[in-house]
Amino acid sequence: MAKLVISRLLAALSVLFFASLIAFVLLRVSPGDPARQVLGPQASAQAVAELRSEMGLDQSLPQQYVTYVSDLVRGDLGTSWRTRVPVAEELSNRIPATIELAVTAMLLSIALAIPIGVLSAGRRRSIDRISRAGAIIGLGTPPFWLGLVLILVFFTWLGIAPAPFGRLDEGLAPPSEVTGFLLVDSLLAGDFAVFSNALAHLALPAITLALPLAAYLSRIVRRSTIDVYRLDYIRTARAKGAGERRVLFRHALPNALLPVLTLSTLYFGELLAGSLLVEAVFNWPGIGGWVAQSIVAQDFAPVQAVILMGALVYTTLSAMTDVLYGVADPRIRTART
């Protein structure tokens, strides 16, 4: 087990290394000159050259990479030239909003996908047909567009959803910050008005983000449940007199949900990427809008930081999944090597 953890950590580190390399190379092959971008077209060639040397751009590429990585290791993600705010600071301000949205969407989609998937793996063909059609349409729906449709229906036409601007109504004061997650913080503060308002604001973007993922996961759950039901030990369980409910919950699901675990973490990266779009639709004050603006302004540091953060989240999660998998599966847990 310890060996598994260590080997997964090493693998994660090497993936991170490649990811940082890719992110670095991508942004250094840019045709534009960042120093020129900062100073504008009127600046003198000498000023540009000075800034270049200050930014380290006159060094060789490998040297630049080393500097970049050693800054990273010290937690220095650079400074946005557009806002002059250190990237790390801005990131830590904005990240709770994004995480709150993504995690809510994740939980929502799992909560939808497991019952739908299990039901459509069952005897009733009609349920399977409907859920299959639903899944195909769910996967086909562009999330940013779905967000707009939901706004159109629930805000513009029905007027039951709050205006798609931010995480709280304007008049409301946010609770004192503990975790940065409004739902958690408002509960900690005992402020139910803020809690319900935050929930209302969260509802539409979370649904928007969750539906395609729920569609995808429900098919995975269905397939993996069907696969498990075909195995001999399910017959053994029935042969010893276990009822269908027991067969499902005690024997089939624990095995069927293992691949779901892996795939949902693999998909978390996609979820974060999707949240960039959905945040733009709902004017959510997370990292999505920030990145979009930074790209338009050719502001490198925030983009690079977000790319790396994404890779970090992805590798951490997939390493964690493997370890969890090991904990859940005795064949791996008890292996000596």
């Binding site: 030990y233 276990a242 005690r250």
Partner: protein
Amino acid sequence: MTSEQPERRDGDEAAPAVGRTLLSVDDLRVEFGSPQRPIHAVRGVSFDVRAGEVVALVGESGSGKTVSALALLGLLPRGARTTMASGTLEGIDLTGVGDDELRHLRGATAGMIFQDPLSSLNPVKRVGDQIVEAIALHEKGAGRKAARARALELLEQVGIPDAGRRIDEYPHQFSGGMRQRAMIAMALAAAPTLLIADEPTTALDVTVQAQILELIQRLQRDLEMGVLLITHDLGVVSRVADRVIVMYAGRIVEAGATEEVLRQPRHHYTAGLLRSLPRLDLPRGGAPVPISGSAPQPEDVVPGCAFAPRCPSAVERCAERPPLEPSGERWLACWEPATGTALDAVAGGEADAAGAAVVPAAPAPAAASAPPALAVERLQVIYGGGRRGLRRRPSAGVRAVDGVDLSIAPGTTLGLVGESGCGKTTLGSAILQLVRPTAGTVAVGGEQLVGRGDKQLRPLRRRFQIVFQDPAASLTPRHRIERVLSEPLELHGLVRSEAERRARVIELLELVGLGERFADRLPHELSGGQRQRVGIARALAVEPELIVLDESVSALDVSVQAQVLALLERLQDELGLAYLFISHDLAVIRHIADEVAVMYLGRIVERGPSEQIYRAPRHPYTAALLSAVPVPDVERERERERIVLLGDPPSPASPPGGCAFHTRCWLRERLGNPERCVAERPELAHLGGEADHRAACHFSDEQAAHLPRTDAVTAREGRAA
């Protein structure tokens, strides 16, 4: 059929009296598929099982024997339609039973064990918990502690050593035999009166099979259970069953006391099955006689006797279905019953049938001067050796093959026999240079193979070929048979023109008994036996001198197996091929091999002329193997005193020191556990007086005195001769 009185085992006082009827079923039918195009898995089957008896349901694949048993307990997958005229289990009517009641009958009244114990146990739950679950399901009041204590007791009862520790382990930590024991413990958890065992030993090694069969017999007697044993193996039937029911194409063709049916089969299918079985207890002359053709598919409509198209004694009346009728204590569905005994059928074997029954081939006259077809010296294959892991610790690796010497004369067959994991398949691959040996030499027809690069080896590969076990997996999917057979011809430039290629493909197909019409088929359109013939034809395409047959007939039904064996023998005679025949099946080896090598944990422990090894084995492991194989002859099975080896074969990753067999050796035990077996590894040494018979045992000379009251092998030979 309910009126039938089962044959009692005479003189067996330990056996409980055969009592009340546990299970009785009349006209059971099972269909799959759409009602418009139904697939008839079971076409009307009636039988019963009484307390204290073992009833065997026997048949080849597709005969409906497993489906019948699963249908009774409602364990068939969705889409199966089961009907029966009547059916009772412990007095409960199965025709009108509700789901919940049926669920309770499973486990509480009828326990079940299955073929593959690994996949039949839940991999993520502890063995003990799975047994506790089975107890708790039927004894609602039982506390967790009491249930666990009972589970422990059950594990001890089925012979799991160190059960107190094992109870908290997972299935993958158990060996194959232990898993099947655990399955049995689980099946017995709620004290059922009927045990249904579906091919319980088919996935196990022969020495482990012997243990499990003994266990089932013991438990059946101690607990006075009825046992319904589903199997394809007539040897297993004769060892444990009181009554036997023979199924063919979804119907019962013959039933009766095991001894009677096997000694004097009345149905031509039963007789044919017995004839087509390679017999461990008969010398090579008693060749298996294949049943021609193949069984009808479940989707076929069969108006008359299903066996008639393959039956040598079919008459006009067979177009009408014969009813299953009693005659004395036997039940039979045949218009023209067979006469005579199985022994006649076997020993008198129609010598002309498929040209199979030939006298053991004498080594080819040229053998003296020509180089051997295969010469292997000190061959060694170590997997995963060298430095491994983070700290680069040197590791010994797994010695899959550890210093093997072999040689095969042109035109003869060497049988290589051993249990799973002994390294026989690795040895085959290493000979073919599919796995590169770690050390040693391999020469085919005098040409040295080891040490050559891939490119140098390629032209030489013409001279030695392989036929695999699974004929489906060894053909590239979606390649037509013509392409399969053309490819080797083109690879080696054996044909110069399109017409020549086509002609050669047809010639090859005809050589293996398939016609030109097969050229355009895809592999999945052929039956198992036909696919294996294609595999053989592909090997023959390059005109090799040596063919390695790696369990090549093991996946086939007995009747088809006999056909393929006959084909192999014919090809050997016609083409002068040398065979390395790798198998776990001692009976098949006895039938086909001129010489035999027995392998245990990567080493050859005994080697010599086939008849000598079978008649007078000199290594205790060989003796135990021979003793463990059940033969389809009740009288003999009862006479025999068997050597039962304890435990499973050790892992090849950590073989015991000294003689690798010492941990399971019965002879060593009888000799008072001499230290020498642990301290010193015996070499494969010549035995005095016997031509080229070698054994790797320090005490091979003492064995004869300790062998159990043998073993009718010799006795029967007297009679057969």
